[in-house]
């Protein structure tokens, strides 16, 4: 017990150095977790983008650039719907207008326009809860929960979209980041407010032959062959553009993780070395009176363990603030919204990996340094 107490008290002998060491480790933890939160958010957006399509085939313009699963840029005349519907094996064609702004690769200001009769389609693929009702007329819209909270909207509120006044008929609560941030309105209204009269972003197409892979491929082939200027995609194809981005984010994330872990371990190793070098006489005295190396290790481990533990705790605190700040800067999400959602934004596995990893490796490195240095003390 005294040996552990001795290790702990030694940490407070040089309070500034100890505080800086704790801060250094905390910053490493913060870097790992903030990076994890951003990449987690990004990959979630990408993966959730596909789920808003209720069909297995999406028809877009060949000029369309797919970013994170969302059709950007190119549009198709609304009349193309009848051409697609005329093909053999088509059971339904739903036009959709999707207008999205991106800020730092994160979709914001999302406007979705779909025909009035198709408003229930999202509920088929995305778990959601509707407060109020779907629009019954062109001057009504449903809004995502985040937009409602951010703009202080409730069912019955009015909102302005361009020159158009819309009444909020319902609020969608969902974990889907796209719908949570979207204003969903009748297609015509969206076309008018966004300046896309007569044009849509995509057609969601269902085949009468079911959703089997063979049937989907047949459908895609027939659409591509029959209608010039369009491209029919299944979700796997639409991932082609985003997969490299997701891979890059994962790679950067891994790099930041490794770098931060390495820096934290270096901190611990340096602290151990400095502690032993500075208190050489003390270690020699304890060894001279008959201490085993295990007892000396206890002292060293208590010191670095305390610093690593305090660093991790401070790191978790700083991470929640840093993540809130990053989200506020990047996508203008208020910090008071993100900080309480810390454990949703950062996977628990990442928190445990970063925290316990740094403590465990730190203690191991501290032990090795203590063992090596005390053995060589003369």
């Amino acid at each position: 017990m005294i040996l552990t107490v001795l290790g702990f008290r030694n940490s407070f002998r040089k309070p500034v150095r100890t505080a800086l060491s704790i801060l250094g480790i905390a910053l490493c933890i913060m870097l790992i977790l903030a990076m994890a939160a951003v990449s987690q958010r990004y990959t979630t957006v990408v993966s959730q983008s596909y789920s808003i399509y209720s069909t297995n085939v999406v028809v877009v313009s060949r000029a369309t650039f797919l970013l994170e699963g969302l059709p950007i840029g190119g549009t198709l005349p609304e009349t193309t719907a009848s051409q697609i519907a005329g093909l053999k094996g088509i059971s339904s064609v739903t036009p959709m207008l999707l207008v999205v702004d991106f800020k730092q690769l994160v979709p914001i200001n999302i406007t979705i326009g779909i025909p009035l009769q198709n408003f229930t389609m999202f509920a088929k693929t995305v778990p959601l809860r509707l407060t109020g009702s779907y629009p019954a007329s062109a001057d009504q819209a449903v809004v995502g929960e985040y937009i409602a909270r951010d703009s202080n909207l409730t069912v019955g509120s009015v909102m302005k979209q361009g020159d158009t006044i819309l009444k909020v008929s319902g609020i969608v609560s969902t974990s889907n980041l796209i719908l949570e941030n979207a204003v969903i309105m009748p297609l015509e209204t969206a076309q008018t407010t966004q300046g896309y009269d007569g044009f849509v972003s995509a057609f969601l197409v269902s085949s009468s032959g079911g959703a089997s892979a063979a049937s989907t491929e047949d459908l895609i082939g027939s659409i591509d062959a029959a209608i010039p200027g369009v491209e029919a995609l299944n979700p796997a194809q639409s991932e082609v553009l985003t997969s490299p981005l997701v891979s890059s984010v994962s790679l950067i994330n891994g790099g930041v993780d490794s770098f931060s872990e390495l820096v934290a371990i270096l901190f611990v190793a340096i602290i151990s070395m400095v502690n032993i070098t500075e208190r050489r006489d003390e270690f020699l005295t304890i060894r001279a009176i008959g201490s085993s190396y295990r007892s000396l290790l206890k002292i060293g481990v208590a010191e670095v363990g305390l610093i690593a533990f305090a660093g991790v705790l401070l790191g978790l605190l700083l991470s929640s603030v840093a993540i809130g700040w990053v989200f506020w800067i990047v996508i203008s999400v208020p910090m008071q919204t993100t900080i309480p959602q810390f454990f949703q934004l950062v996977p628990l596995s990442t928190i445990l990996y970063a925290s316990l990893g740094i403590i465990a490796i730190g203690v191991l490195v501290g032990s090795l340094v203590t063992a090596t240095m005390t053995r060589n003390l003369k």
Partner: protein, 241 residues
């Protein structure tokens, strides 16, 4: 001896049993200036219950001699015995254990741990021996009282006078009831009165515990307080009285 006294100091051991013996022991160091013989052919035996003084100026090899007796260093030539067994025949772990259980060190400049309280400093050797917390606390208190520091157990060493720190160092040396106490210049930082008190304290402890005590000093006035004295000069040990 009463039961409580036995509890405090342990049972009396056989007076006169040889605890440490050096036979023509030398210790050399290689320096940039050449080979230095810190201890040159020293022969000495220390038995339980006796107090031996090693006199000599700084750099004469007194500390190295104590290191040989205390098994902190190996002789370059000659033999060192501890409890009648050649020290080189003990394993490193056995020597460490012997230092912890059979030898008490009073280092030059005390070498107290500044972050530990007086009582914790005295507890330290017992903690290294994994004795129970309550036992070590009780014994540490008794030892602190016995060196005249009752009521100062919770203080840090830095808050004590030099003489008091030396007393704590003596109490720490006695923690595991050693058979041999090695005191390296215990009076060097004290005035002659305080130095005399420390020697008296060590002598009193010797009588109570029957431990052998080896004291080094460069202060010739201390020698009058000791029954058996050696002089050391340039590593060579010679009998004075």
């Amino acid at each position: 001896m009463s039961d409580s006294r036995e509890e405090q100091w342990g049972p009396p051991s056989q007076q006169g049993t040889c605890i440490s013996r050096l036979v023509d022991a030398s210790r050399t160091f290689e320096t940039e200036a050449g080979v230095v013989k810190a201890v040159d052919g020293a022969t000495l035996s220390v038995s339980r219950g006796e107090m031996v003084g090693i006199m000599g100026p700084s750099g004469s090899g007194k500390t190295t001699l104590l290191n040989l007796i205390g098994m902190l260093e190996d002789p370059s030539s000659g033999d060192v015995y501890f409890e009648e067994k050649l020290v080189r025949d003990y394993t490193a772990a056995e020597r460490r254990r012997l230092r912890l259980t059979r030898v008490g060190f009073v280092f030059q400049q005390f070498r107290l741990i500044p972050t530990l309280s007086v009582i914790e400093n005295v507890e330290l050797p017992m903690a290294l021996l994994s004795r129970s917390g309550s036992h070590q606390k009780m014994r540490a208190r008794e030892l602190i009282e016995s060196v005249g520091l009752a009521g100062k157990g919770e203080r840090r060493p830095g808050k004590l006078s030099v003489g008091e720190q030396q007393r704590v160092a003596v109490a720490r040396a006695l923690a595991n009831n050693p058979a041999l106490i090695l005191a390296d210049e215990p009076t060097s930082q004290l005035d002659s009165t305080s130095g005399g008190k420390i020697i008296d304290l060590l002598d009193d402890l010797r009588k109570r515990t029957n431990a052998a005590v080896v004291v080094t000093t460069h202060d010739s006035s201390i020698s009058s307080l000791l029954a058996r004295v050696y002089r050391m000069r340039d590593g060579v040990l010679a009998v004075v009285k």
